[in-house]
């Protein structure tokens, strides 16, 4: 049974961009794609730039895979897996859902 954690209001999200939330003392980057009505969440810590910045990167896709580009050195991280596309690094990836106007998150399994 998935434990959903209440994070923020849907209105706190930024379209085609990211925000950072503090969830169980961990920094999570949450991205919202209004055109396809999708929300993704991955860890905010950039393991290559070594700073809490991924929520501030630009989003998009590489060959269909939704990604965020690190604002520091522009490596791409998959929003569906947290995998870095350029090198062998991975960040945590969270399930996320919209529930009654609230954004909710599940710990990575």
């Amino acid at each position: 049974m998935t434990q959903w954690i209440d994070v923020c209001s849907f209105d706190d999200l930024e379209p085609n961009s990211g925000v950072c939330a503090l969830v169980n003392n961990q920094q999570v980057a949450i991205f919202y794609f209004p055109n396809e009505d999708k929300i993704f969440a991955i860890g905010n810590y950039d393991p290559i730039g070594k700073a809490n910045v991924l929520s501030r990167g630009m989003v998009g896709d590489i060959k269909g895979e939704p990604v965020v580009a690190s604002p520091l050195y522009k490596q791409h991280f998959s929003l569906r897996s947290g995998q870095c596309l350029e090198q062998d690094d991975q960040v945590p990836c969270y399930s996320v859902r919209l529930y009654d106007g609230r954004v909710q998150l599940a710990e990575p399994t």
Binding site: V7, C8, D12, L13, E14, P15, N16, S17, V19, C20, A21, L22, N25, Q26, Q27, I30, F33, N35, G43, Y45, P47, G49, K50, A51, N52, V53, R56, G57, M58, V59, G60, D61, I62, K63, G64, P66, V67, A69, P71, L72, K74, P92, P108
Partner: protein
Amino acid sequence: MSVKKTLVVIGNGMVGQNFLETLVTSSAYADYQVVTFCEEPRVAYDRVHLSEFFSGKSADDLSLVESGFFDKNNITLHLGDRALRIDRDNKQVVSQKGEKIAYDKVVIASGSYPFVPPMPGHDREGCLVYRTIEDLEAITKAAKNAKTGAVVGGGLLGLEAAKALTDLGLDTHVVEFAPRLMAVQLDEGGAAMLRSKIEALGVTIHTSKNTQKIVDGEHARHKMCFADGEELETDLILFSAGIRPRDDIAQESFLEIGQRGGIVIDNQCLTSDPDIYAIGECALWNNQIFGLVAPGYQMARTVVAQLEEKEAAFLGADMSTKLKLMGVDVASIGDAHAKTQGALIYTYQDGSSEIYKRIVVSADKKNLLGAVLVGDSSGYGTLLQYCLNGIELPENPDALILPSRSDESVGLGPDALPASAQICSCHDVSKGQVCEAITAGYQDIGALKSETKAATGCGGCTALLKSVLDCELDKLGFEVNTDICEHFPHTRQDLYNLVMVDEIKTFDELLTSHGRGRGCEVCRQAVGSILASYWNEYVLEKQHLGVQDTNDVYLANMQKDGTYSIVPRVTGGEISPDMLIALGEVGKKYGLYTKITGGQRIDLFGAQINQLPAIWDELIVAGFESGHAYGKSLRTVKSCVGSTWCRFGIDDSVSLAIELENRYKGLRAPHKIKMAVSGCTRECAEAQGKDIGVIATEHGWNLYVCGNGGMKPRHADLFATNLDKETLIKYIDRVLIFYVRTADRLQRTSVWMENMEGGLDYLKSVVIDDRLNICTQLEQQMDYVIETYQCEWKTTLESPEHLKRFRHFVNSDQLDEGVVFVEERGQVRPANEQEREQLVTFRPMEDA
């Protein structure tokens, strides 16, 4: 180890210097101690572009010697001293100042001197020659009291000299002995076309004129009397009737001299003494003197190869030339006069566009022997390759010069050239060498130029080099794909045009109508920049948020630890004590690291997102506004203190810098733009290393464009001289918007210029002559950007909705605990990894 031998190089002109540069990169360099004599008071400079001295270039601009070259390479330079003779018995070079240098080898590169016909009156005051910078200074001085000037000689150099006189504002005449201009290079038809084009520029041409004497004039200083009884009155006379080899040192040294002058050399460039070489215009090979630099460079390479004990020979040189004379394209290839037996001639003449083309082909119509082009020399590269490489001509050779009426291209594709084909004649770079460099990874035109040196001499082969590059990349399997990314099958320039034509205002609109997928950081950044340049809306509006890059998205510069730095605008670098104090107080209050930037501003480091609004609130109250240091936009206009305070200042550089900065602040562009204004030619603001540089002169402002410091420094190009402020601003407006419209993504103006077909001349023709008929549009666009300027921080602070974003966590007021500072020299800095491990108890999740 053996003792080094001594090599004496006599003459530091273009060829002498080229020899030294070739030598120091060769294996022979280790064997020789090099001593060089330079008779002139300055080291080698570019004589080919001498006339640019009159359009604003200084002697320094024309210099060909990198500063420190002689010291760095341990070459002893005797400047302002002339080698008089070579004492071959004692193996010593003796100089005018009494130096005696023992030598093992000597290279004579003494060049040539202008021929002055020995007519009575040729040595009157105000009768000058055109060869050295001292000559130019004398011409400038003489021109001050002159209204008219006459050039004796209608050859290549004579017309260059005529350009100099027109630049000096004189009513200019050209007096030529032969019945036509450029008799060596051009046939009658070509010369006639050239004449009519030059006459249209206001220069009077007199051909078939044999000047017999020069006497006192009645209305002007001199009167030239011609053999046909006619006369010409003029205040200044320039002799440019050909060159003569400087062979006096060879005469003094008893070396063999040709009947009509010139130091006789063999295929190894050796004179009659096996230890003495001669190269360049002083040398006579096979009874020929070569009055161009390329053959001189070829001789220099031949001698360096001998010193390396390699086989090499100089076997003559192609004398084909392509140049712009007074703005007219002129080119001559090979046997332009059809002297070859049985040669056939094809001619094309277009009276309305004033274009003349002629090709000379072999009797069997298989080979191109020569060509003349006037008014349009775009076919030069192709024709030269046909000629030099003996490539078989198409069935109808006239197709090479007839305007193409269909899409069919008759140009010679680079693929058809053999590897031995010479692409760059100035530096003797073959297609094979270019291809090798491309394979080795030098795959853009700039890298290719610096690697191979091709197209860095006269630049005439740039277009050909580019086409070889494209063709080879294609063959190597690189699709020459100019699409900006996988989401748009368009270049940045295409996207800009789409935004303009379809009046597109958001990224989503553009993606829906012309792209696919979700976009990415490449196209989003590019489109964000285009929209901001064109519509100039507030960049943090919801619909634009997703296209703002790292720094723009929080209107501050992200540093390595995710904190931000803040750079308020300090226009022109002028700041009052009160403003300085205000900055200091903000820095102190928020614990920021402060540093002076390269652009005369102050950078405050170490702010977290949450702190940005409060910091800016205080800065705006103190009178600051956004410095746009976070944007790909105008950064700063640096200035020296100028005539207001400086003892040497010519004009008020600070006021102009402030005016320019206030005019262009907020203008977003493909990349950042830096400017500077210097109040005199001492150039303390370093304007020639900026995208836009302005330098005060006695008569106005000189405008420089497309310079760069940074990773790949580029000296800016002199764009226009002695402008009044109104014209200056008009030109800058146009250059900037043209850059914004046409540059690639993240392309600085320097690279934009390097890649621009037609280069500086093309940019001038667009901006000054309005050849694309767009200048009004460019100015309107700039006016719009200026009218819609806003301080983005002021706008942000006025809107609670936008301020809401400025927090690290969307669900907490905490700061980012991953940010850790330590103290250094009394200020904060980000902790390094070791320090963090000691200091941080909370660790950001790494493997959650």
